[in-house]
Assembly symmetry: C2
Homo-oligomer: 333 residues x 2
């Protein structure tokens, strides 16, 4: 039988823990270390609600964990901003481990952070590891999935992706993050501060354009509240009429003044129906719908774990979802 | 500017001609040769209805064309049966050209033709070329697409794909091929003779299973007529009540007596709605629908042409859609 893949979890917050819960029950994986600044000394199995200890204590000392455990791969979930997490990638790569990261800005970093992207690619090549940023969005719904659908198109003139999420069944932090229950003034203040914002639309637009061989002149984004017309509520939050029920954020990719890509992300309490949809204008036109939408937390953990064998088999360097062979669900226990 | 990709078209029937029409307007391609046993000596542009000559005459002599034109890649569309077309693959590979073929049995040949698959892989490696079989089905709708959707799943327990095609707007040969307007007796005779049969379900099932890491014990198929309850008609054929309006062919993938994969292919005159759908049972369940379905002829040419850059960049050997990086629509003129 093949040797198990040695995995270190870097970042043991909600996303990290959902990754751990999945990785722990995939037969080919062995979790050998855990890095975080909180819950230090506690067993990862307990922190991740596995309801059993797994003999892996959370440590704040990344270098020591990487040196002692010699992982094949690090599953990384500590933040959205690439400049912020870059030193962690450096630690991991220098320890000789590949990376699958949930860092949104890493999913397609060549446009927003071209120098950092080049540096990460060099870092990975020097250390003979592969580095991937992925997740459900960015990583699948608004980039890999629409690109995959264009395979049957003779021509593509415009790509639109819509993701409508009813936020009611989601975690409270998610509902707060999208501004549900805020006044419009408060909502706009959060937007201005940069705290109310989905990160990834620009990365997805850049990846779609690269996949289709399009050179874009500009990528723009708008954020506005979805305003409740009547009272709507989740188990946590009541939104009064005129308040923000959530967010509508739209990204546009432009070429010569023409919109080529439109990514429409909406998450709010009271959405009648959750769904994801791809609309391709071309030969032929296509309309593809995921009925009921895609559960963000489940799907992000799935993407990270399912990508592991592809990343381990990839040539050294910074890689992206469009450059890897098909990522598929891994077999269960 | 990069040198153009030198393309030879091998097989200039309806599918071959639709490939040529697409390849002829993709900027990176140069069509340098054409091979077929019919329309010999005629210009490929005329035969493929490009409404202009392209200076490429159809020749029956494959070896001579390949030797004279030195193509980078051959777009191959001569038949469904792998043993039948194998000598052509050998000619092409020995001439040092890679292949994208519409041969259904080549899309995932490891189960039905394991020895031939190994031989093709050796042939390709010896000649440093890559060989791919693809198309819309097999090649995308019932294998690559459902596999791609499993990326966001933590577990998959069953995969079902349904393709319903209203045959009315399709070409007459297609309507005849699916048995429209036949009596049930005639239909069953055509099935028994092996002439009325969609080739590819077994290949798609084998590819899905391989992608998901499943070992199947058996793959079975059933073919039956879709019987017209009332009179239905296309511009070519009138189907009387009780006659076959078309075909329903279902493939099943079995593991330990349990159905794991179900591919349900239906093409008939009078289908209320054309659509393609993927149903995944797992964590989470997924239902994904291509509204209006996917036009077979357009999509097959698209798959063949769009796969070219990926095949040229692939390592030598027999490759499959699940092993290639994402195939996307190529930019237009």
């Amino acid at each position: 039988m093949a040797r198990k893949i040695r995995v270190v979890q870097f970042g043991c917050g909600p996303i990290g823990c959902s990754i751990v819960r999945l990785a722990a029950r995939k037969p080919g994986f062995e979790i050998v270390g855990a890095i975080d600044l909180v819950n230090v000394g506690r067993d990862l199995g307990e922190v991740a609600a596995l309801h059993r200890d797994i003999g892996v204590k959370i440590s704040p000392n990344a270098d020591a964990v990487l040196k002692e455990t010699k992982p094949d791969i690090v599953l990384h979930a500590t933040g959205s901003s690439l400049p912020t997490i870059y030193p962690q990638l450096e630690q991991i790569a220098r320890a000789g481990a590949s990376v699958v990261s949930s860092t949104e800005e890493l999913s397609y970093p060549f446009r927003k952070h071209p120098e950092l992207a080049a540096r990460i690619d060099r870092l990975a090549k020097e250390n003979k590891v592969a580095i991937l940023g992925t997740g459900v969005n960015p990583g699948f719904l608004m980039d890999t999935w629409p690109l995959a659908m264009t395979a049957v198109c003779q021509d593509v003139r415009h790509v639109k992706v819509v993701r409508i999420q009813d936020a009611s069944p989601r975690r409270l932090p998610f509902q707060k993050k999208i501004g549900a229950g805020r006044t419009i003034e408060e909502f706009n203040k959060l937007v201005a501060e940069g705290t109310l914002r989905h990160v990834g639309l620009a990365e997805s637009i850049a990846m779609i354009a690269a996949g289709l061989g399009w050179t874009l002149d500009d990528i723009t984004e708008t954020i506005e509240p979805v305003i409740a017309a009547e009272e709507v509520r989740s188990s946590y939050i009541t939104v009064r009429p005129g308040q923000a029920a959530g967010v509508k954020q739209v990204g546009h990719g432009w070429r010569k003044g023409e919109e080529m890509i439109n990514l429409d992300f909406q998450a709010y309490i009271g959405a009648r129906e959750s769904y994801d949809a791809v609309y391709i204008t071309g030969v032929p036109n296509m309309e593809v719908v995921i009925k009921g939408g895609t559960h963000g937390d489940i799907a992000t953990a799935a993407m990270i774990v399912n990508a592991v064998p592809r990343v381990l088999a990839a040539p050294p360097g910074l890689t992206t979802m469009k450059d890897l062979p098909l990522v598929c669900a891994l077999p269960g226990a």
